[in-house]
Symmetry: C2
Subunit: 328 residues, 2 copies
Amino acid sequence: MAARAGVSLGTVSNVLNRPDRVSDRTRSKVERAMTELGFVRNESARQLRAGQSRVLAYVVLDASNPFFTDVAQGIELAADLSELSLFICNSNNSSTREEAYLDLLQQQRVQGILITPVDPGADFLNEVARRGTPLVIVDRVQKDLALCSVAVDDVLGGRVAVEHLIDRGHSRVAFVGGPLSIGQVEDRWRGAQQAWAEAGLPQDALVQLTTSALTVAEGRGAGERLAGMPARRRPTAAFCANDLVALGLLQQTIASGRRVPDDLAIVGYDDIEFASAAAVPLTSVRQPRQELGRTAAELVVDEATNPDHTHTQVTFTPELVARTSTLG
Amino acid sequence: MAARAGVSLGTVSNVLNRPDRVSDRTRSKVERAMTELGFVRNESARQLRAGQSRVLAYVVLDASNPFFTDVAQGIELAADLSELSLFICNSNNSSTREEAYLDLLQQQRVQGILITPVDPGADFLNEVARRGTPLVIVDRVQKDLALCSVAVDDVLGGRVAVEHLIDRGHSRVAFVGGPLSIGQVEDRWRGAQQAWAEAGLPQDALVQLTTSALTVAEGRGAGERLAGMPARRRPTAAFCANDLVALGLLQQTIASGRRVPDDLAIVGYDDIEFASAAAVPLTSVRQPRQELGRTAAELVVDEATNPDHTHTQVTFTPELVARTSTLG
DNA sequence: TTGCATCATTGAAAGGTTTCAACTGCGGTT
DNA sequence: AACCGCAGTTGAAACCTTTCAATGATGCAA
């Protein structure tokens, strides 16, 4: 304790927390001692006394997906306003890692946890809230609505995308993406089907091309499968479950000498930065990523500070951004 | 304390830390009480006693740059092996935020800090180490070598890129990137100049197109400037300071009807995933991103645990990945 | 029966900060 | 001269866990 370097004990605390109640002379004396000794306040002791910290944490599914980093930026924006720091934890699609992080964060008594979970139905999510750490689910929805969540209406996103293609005159369209076990993919596919049915188009003219993951490589593979179809059955447009798949499809299409959008129109999903920067700028369904994060952070802060907090499920509306890949 | 729910006090601690020394009956009694009360071990108190935590932190310059997320993944790999958790903090190119995070992390007594700093020369970096928290600099080098660092030889990267273009027969080349105040950019430019001079080519045939940031938009702008040059002075190839700039340049070139690589060959830097997925797959200089992170994490762990630790500066060698954008 | 070894459990101390009531001087009032 | 108020400072308690020496209980051997 720096006290012995100066002359007092709890006065050090006053210097740190209520400098005005300390005389100039003692204050500078203490401050000098602190720099000399390389004093660093012990946050553990501090927190032990205070009972809570000034930290939020975001447990993210995949830190290398630009979509999530944008969400994180939104969280950070809101956290800053409440003078909170943000720690990002990467679960990397692993339930095990996810649970380990949740344990650690609870034990650290963080103010609140934001999470895009591997499985929104997992028991341990509810358990966290039950034990007193505010928790908000980001970009997923929980079936039993026992927690706050912030998400985007993916069914609507699917509709909007396919309606756009129908408007552009396409009557043979492929849905490219998978696996359907991912909630998002299933919702977007459902929305696509709804729009298709409502336009009165024949069901078998909406083709489903399933991929095993939402990656660029899988998009390329789908392009090859598409090219292999007989011309009269081949779709003239594709709606991809995310932009990575769409970029792969786009690349394969151009590389094989077909033109976008003349031979194949393409719609992606997420509107990541690389969508507009593609060789043919990509039409995509934009989600309000930053706002998603911002809102989630606000909810978690409310849950942490407002005794009258009630759990809320916020749903945002996606928006189509039309570019050359469908407009020609 | 769960003690009153059961019958004892420090026995709870034994249940948690040395379950074998506790009889089955008491153990299950305590465990039951713990679940009933929703008991969560207090990490602050634990740490206060122990004096240190099991956490590493990576203060990253820009969480939305795929390059850094790959580095982070490498760190995580190594951290896992040492049974450490990783918190990612995004300084977002702000010195202020960077310093705030460093303060917080020191106060939390993390095992070690990895950082890609805004300015590797900043005083407060050395100060952190002086106060006892191990710190390793990632992807930058410090002039005075007072700290561990892990970086890639950017001068060599610049040479390799330009040598490749010279090999392909180009005798009029543009270097696109900036500002030069970024150490990386300056090094790559220097390497480019060296290769150029060694090949005996006239100095003014290596044109410098300075951008104000390393973004896709700036790359597009550079493309326009390039197109505006009189044909006989116009470079037939461009070496870009990173892939984002290269992708912008690529997009603008194709959109304006010129062909890559026939009218303009392009080399990028970083080899991010989107480089190979571009409409014309991009030749790029690959850096061993994951290994960068892995090595940095190993160094910081060594500094934290090995009393004989000596500061080390590790430099990796970049590697050219040739693709269609220069090979035709 | 006594003593010993073993196993299970307990109690107290330590770790660094914050808070708060209590104390010390000191100048100013009456 | 006695008192008051006030600014500045102090000491002790509390936060929760871990560790370790000490205690209690049990069974076994002599």
